[in-house]
C-alpha cells in the first residue's frame, strides 16, 4: 500500500502540490480573513458611529484594513468558485493518460492481477484527497461568507461554498479520468476535459435557470426583499379574483394610482406580487445539483472501469 501511494505521489506530485496544497492554502487564507473580519467588526462599527471629521488615526487605519479585507474576500471567493473545476481537470485528465502516453500502463496492467484494482489504486487516493480538501475549502468559504453577509447564505452565493464544491470537483475529476483513459494522451485529455467542463457548467446553469423559472411561485412582496434574489417576474394580483397583471398593463390601465416621479404605487384592490423561488428552496437546489453530479461521477466511473478492462495494452 505504501509503495503504491509513494509511486502515485512521485508521478503526480506537481499537480498534487499545486491543487491540493493550493486548496489548503486558500482555505487557510479564507479562515484568516474571516477571523480578521470578525475580530475587527466591533472596532469598525464603533468607528462608523463617529462623525467623519473627528475620525481618529486608529479608526482610519481600521477602516482601511476593513476595506482591504473586503477586497480580499471578493478575490478569494472567486478563486474558490473556480478551484473545483481546475483541480478536477488537472488532477483527473493526466492521471491515466500520462501512463498510457508514456507506455507504462501496459507494463503495469500485465504485472497487476486486475486492471480494475490498478485503476482503483491510481484514482481513489487522489479522489479522496481532492474531496477532503474541497470539503474543507467549502467550509472555509462558508465561514468567510457567513462573516461578511448580514443575511443567511443562499442563491446569491450559489456554488461559492459548502459541499457543492466537492461534488463539482468529484464529477469533473471522474470525467477527466475517463477522457484521459479514452484519449490516452495528456494534452488532448486536458483540453477535451476543459471543453467538456465548460459545456457541463453552461448546461447546469441553463438547466437550473429553467427549473427555477418552472418552479417559481407568485408571492406578495413583503419584508423578504433583502434576501430574495431569484425574482423572475413581478406584477399585481387582484385581491378579489386572484388574477395577475403585469406592471406595464397596470400602469396603462390605472395611471392615476402611480406616483409620476417615482413610479411607486399600485391599483386599488391589488397587491404587489413577484414570481420567485423562495429562499428556503436553496438547500433543495443544492441537493439536486449534488445528486446530478454524484450520478455523473458514478456513470463516468463505471465507463472508466469498462474501458480500462477492454483497452488494448498498446
Amino acid at each position: 500500500m505504501a509503495t503504491q501511494l509513494r509511486l502515485l505521489w512521485r508521478m503526480h506530485r506537481w499537480e498534487a502540490v499545486f491543487f491540493i496544497g493550493g486548496a489548503l492554502l486558500l482555505s487557510t487564507a479564507l479562515a484568516i480573513v474571516a477571523w480578521q473580519i470578525a475580530a475587527s467588526r466591533d472596532t469598525m462599527l464603533a468607528c462608523y458611529e463617529q462623525s467623519f471629521e473627528t475620525l481618529s488615526a486608529e479608526c482610519r487605519s481600521a477602516i482601511e484594513w476593513g476595506n482591504t479585507l473586503g477586497g480580499a474576500v471578493g478575490l478569494l471567493v472567486a478563486v474558490t468558485t473556480v478551484t473545483p473545476f481546475a483541480a478536477g481537470i488537472f488532477l483527473g485528465a493526466p492521471l491515466l493518460s500520462r501512463e498510457i502516453e508514456h507506455r507504462t500502463a501496459p507494463i503495469a496492467w500485465s504485472l497487476s492481477p486486475s486492471r480494475s484494482g490498478w485503476l482503483l489504486w491510481r484514482t481513489v487516493p487522489v479522489l479522496l484527497a481532492l474531496v477532503i480538501v474541497l470539503l474543507v475549502l467549502g467550509q472555509a468559504s462558508a465561514f468567510v461568507l457567513d462573516t461578511v453577509e448580514e443575511v443567511d447564505l443562499g442563491f446569491r452565493q450559489y456554488g461559492m461554498f459548502g459541499p457543492i464544491l466537492a461534488a463539482r470537483g468529484l464529477a469533473i475529476f471522474g470525467l477527466g479520468v475517463l477522457v484521459g483513459l479514452v484519449l490516452g494522451r495528456v494534452l488532448p485529455a486536458l483540453l477535451v476535459t476543459a471543453l467538456a467542463t465548460v459545456a457541463i457548467v453552461g448546461g447546469m446553469s441553463v438547466g437550473r435557470d429553467l427549473l427555477m423559472r418552472e418552479e417559481a411561485i407568485w408571492r406578495p412582496m413583503g419584508d423578504q426583499s433583502d434576501f430574495v434574489h431569484m425574482v423572475f417576474d413581478s406584477g399585481f394580483r387582484s385581491d378579489a379574483t386572484g388574477e395577475i397583471i403585469g406592471y406595464e398593463q397596470a400602469y396603462n390601465e390605472y395611471p392615476e394610482s402611480f406616483d409620476e416621479m417615482t413610479g411607486e404605487g399600485g391599483p386599488p384592490g391589488m397587491t404587489s406580487v413577484w414570481k420567485i423561488v423562495p429562499p428556503d428552496a436553496f438547500d433543495l437546489y443544492v441537493a439536486r445539483e449534488i445528486g446530478v453530479l454524484a450520478a455523473t461521477f458514478l456513470l463516468v466511473s463505471a465507463a472508466a472501469v469498462f474501458i480500462v478492462r477492454r483497452r488494448r495494452p498498446e
Binding site: 506537481w14 499545486f18 467623519f52 471629521e53 493526466p94 494522451r185 495528456v186 494534452l187 483540453l191 471543453l195
Partner: protein, 308 residues
Amino acid sequence: MTLARLAFKLQPSSIGFAAFVCLGLAGAALWLTADMRSVLEACGTPNEPTACQVDFAFQNTHGQAVIMTQMGIGLAMYGIPLVLGVPILTREIEHKTAMMAWPLAGSRTKWLAWRAGPVLAVALVLMGVMAFAAERLAQAYFPHDDIGFNLYGSHGIPLVTRAALTFAVAVLLGAVIGRLLPALLIGIVVAAGITNGTEAVLRSWVEPMELTQEDSFLTGGFPLITDLEFRAPDGSVMNDVEVQELYQAVYAEHGEDADPALLPREVYFGVAADRYPEVLIRESAAIGGAVVLAGVLAVIVVQRRRPE
C-alpha cells in the same frame, strides 16, 4: 516545408483546440456585433429603438451575452498561447525525441525556430482574428462613443501583443522546465502575472494629465483614469475631511439648492481617449522587447540544455 508540416503534425490537438476556441469566440463576437448594428438600422424612423439615443444602448438586450463573450476572449487570449507554446519543447523533451533531434539538426536555434515559428504564425493569425472581432464587439456595444481605453488589452492590437508575450514566455517555460504539466501550471501563474503587470504599468507609458470636461467619461468617452482630486472653489487642493466639511457648511447655509460653484470640484487625472495611439505604440514597443527577450532566453536555454 517538411519541418513546418512536422510542427503542425506534432501539435494537432492544441492547434485544433486553439482554432475551435478562437474562431468560436470570434464568431460569437461578430454575430453579436451584427445583431446590435441591425438594431441601429431603425434609427431615424418613427419607431426608432431606445438604443439610438442612450449611451448604454445594449445593456439590457445584449449585455449578458456581450459580457460572457468578452470574458471568454479575456481568458482565451492567455490560455491559448499557453496551450500552444508550452508543449512545443516539453513534449519533445518528455518523450526524449529532442535528444535525437538536436544532434541531427545542424543548429538547435534553427530547430527551435522551425518548431516554434509555424505555431507562432498560427497563434498570431488566430489571435488577430479574435482581436479584430473583440474590437468590433467593443465598439458596437458603445455605438455612440469612442471606446478609447474601455477594456484596454482585451481587444485590438494590445490583445495580440499580450498573447504574443504569453506565447514567448510559454515556450521559455517549456524549455526551462521540460515537463508539460508543471510548465502549464506555472504558465497559468505567469499569465496571471502578465495580466496584472501590463495593467499596472499601463498608466506609466504617458504622463497623466488633468482631464477636461470633453475628455471625461461623464461626456461619453473612455479615458484611462489614474487619479481623482478635489479642488476648492478657489482652486486649492482639498483632502477628504476638508471636502466633507465644505459640503456640510455649504448645504447648512444654502440648503439643497446651493450654487454648485460653491462646492468642491472633482478633478480627474488620466490619459484622454484620443491619446490611445500614443499609449499603444509605447506599450507595443515594450511588450515587443519583452517577447524578443523571452525568445532569446528560450534559445539560450535550448542551446545549453543537456540532451537528456
